[in-house]
Symmetry: C2
Subunit: 247 residues, 2 copies
C-alpha cells in the first residue's frame, strides 16, 4: 500500500513472483508456453493472496471473478448439502488451479479451504479470457487445464463407484505420491495435511475405516504411518492392490 516511485526499479519480491520467474511454471497455467508467451501472463497475474490454515479461499455461492493458482500450501475443495452432509471433492497442491467451478454460473459451487497456511496467485478471469483471445497457446493451455480437471473427476468417479475401500486408499496414496514427485518432493515420504475425516469424505469412507486401513497397510508393511506422517515402503505392493479387484 505504500507509494512507489514511478520509474522502474528492481524489486526482489516481484522478481520472485511473476510467472516467468516462478518455479512452478512447468506445472501450472504457463505449462508449455514459450518465454515470450509467459511474459504476457506476467501482466495478468499481479495480485496474490495469503490464506491461513482453515480459512476459505472462496465459498459456495460467492460471486466468481478469479481463478487461483496455488503457489504454496495445501487446499481442499468441498460441497455441502442442505442437510449438512459434506463431500470433499479434491485436494490441491502448488501449481494446481482452483475456481474453475465458478465459470458456469458466475458463482462458486464449492468451498475452497486452506489445509495449511498458503499463498495463491489471483487470476482475474475476464482478463484471462481477454488475453487468451490474443495468445493462442495460452487459450489452448487453459482449455487443457479445464479438460484435465474433468478427467481427474472421472478418475474420482471410478474410485468411488467401483473400488473397494482398500483400493481407494491405495489409489489415493499413490496419487499423492505422484504429485509430490512432480513437485520435486519425496514420493515415498510425506506429510498428510488433511485429517482422517477429510480423507474419508473424499474417498467415500468413514474416518474409522480410513484409520483401520492405515493400520492394516502398516501391518502388511506397505506403508509406515505415524499420525499424519506417511512413508510408502512398498509402492509395488500398493499398485498390486489396485489391479487385484478382489484380493
Amino acid at each position: 500500500m505504500s507509494s512507489q516511485p514511478a520509474y522502474r526499479t528492481i524489486n526482489i519480491h516481484q522478481l520472485k513472483t511473476v510467472c516467468s520467474a516462478c518455479s512452478l511454471k512447468e506445472l501450472c497455467l504457463p505449462m508449455g508456453l514459450s518465454h515470450d508467451e509467459i511474459e504476457h501472463l506476467d501482466q495478468l497475474v499481479y495480485t496474490r493472496k495469503r490464506v491461513k490454515r482453515g480459512e476459505a479461499l472462496y465459498r459456495s455461492g460467492d460471486p466468481f471473478n478469479s481463478l487461483y493458482a496455488i503457489r504454496t500450501g495445501f487446499f481442499k475443495s468441498n460441497v455441502l448439502l442442505e442437510d449438512g452432509r459434506d463431500q470433499v471433492t479434491g485436494f490441491f497442491m502448488p501449481g494446481e488451479i482452483m475456481g474453475l467451478d465458478g465459470i458456469g454460473q458466475d458463482r462458486h459451487s464449492c468451498n475452497a479451504t486452506a489445509l495449511e497456511d498458503g499463498e495463491v496467485c489471483v487470476i482475474p478471469f475476464a482478463r484471462l479470457e481477454e488475453l487468451s483471445r490474443e495468445v493462442r497457446n495460452l487459450q489452448h493451455q487453459f482449455h487443457k487445464v479445464m479438460s484435465r480437471e474433468i478427467v481427474r473427476d472421472q478418475g474420482v468417479m471410478m474410485l468411488l463407484g467401483s473400488m473397494r475401500a482398500e483400493e481407494r486408499l491405495a489409489a489415493f496414496l499413490l496419487n499423492l505420491s505422484q504429485r509430490f514427485l512432480a513437485r520435486g518432493y519425496s514420493p515415498a515420504e510425506f506429510h498428510l495435511r488433511m485429517t482422517r475425516e477429510e480423507i474419508g469424505s473424499y474417498l467415500g469412507l468413514k474416518l474409522e475405516t480410513v484409520s483401520r486401513l492405515f493400520s492394516k497397510f502398516q501391518e502388511e508393511h506397505l506403508v509406515s504411518v505415524q499420525q499424519k506422517h506417511i512413508r510408502i515402503t512398498d509402492v509395488e505392493g500398493l499398485k498390486r492392490l489396485l489391479s487385484q479387484p478382489a484380493a
Copy 2:
C-alpha cells in the same frame, strides 16, 4: 456427395440443421449467443454423424479432434480399468456436449457409446478455438460449458461419496426428470435408455440393488416402473428421500 450449383439455393436439409435453426440452440453450445453470433457457429459445425445403438462415438485412447453436440439419441460415457472394471461416468441427451475429456491429452480418456440410434454435430476443436478467439461470447459460452461439466462431476462425487443407495437412485431419477423437462418432454413419464447394470455402474451400485430399489419405490408409490418405462407418481416423495439422510 452430389455436386451442387454454386449459387445459393434453399436446401431444406441444411436449413433444419444449422445451429441458427436448431431447436436445441437454447440448451447447447449456442446458448445465450445473439443471432449474429450463432451464424458464426453455422460455419463451424458442418458435419454430422449418425451413430447406431451400441456403437462408439469415440473410444478411450482415440486421437482427439472434435467435440460432439448431441442432436438426437441418448449416449453414455464410461471409463475402463485394465482389470476390466467399468465405470459409467455420465448419460447424455440432446443438446449436451461430449468429448471435453479429450482436450487435455489430445486423446480421449473415456468411451462414448450410443444407447439408441442418434445423431451428433461434429465440432472440430481447432476451429472452435479459432472462432472463439474472434467471437468473445462464444469463447465465454464454451468456458461455461466446460465449467458446468466440472460442476456436474462434483454432483456425481457427492452422490457416490455421501449418499445411500436409495438417495442415489432418487437423485438420478429427479435429475433425468429435470433434463427431460428442459427439453420439452414429460418430466413425469419417460423411457430409460440404459440397462439396470448401467444405472448401477453410474450410481456405484450393483444391478440387483437397482432393481430392488425400483421395486421398493414402486411399493411406496413413488414411481411406477415397467421395465424401462418410468412414471414418477410422487416427485415430492422422491425429493424428501434426498433431504433425509437416514430416513
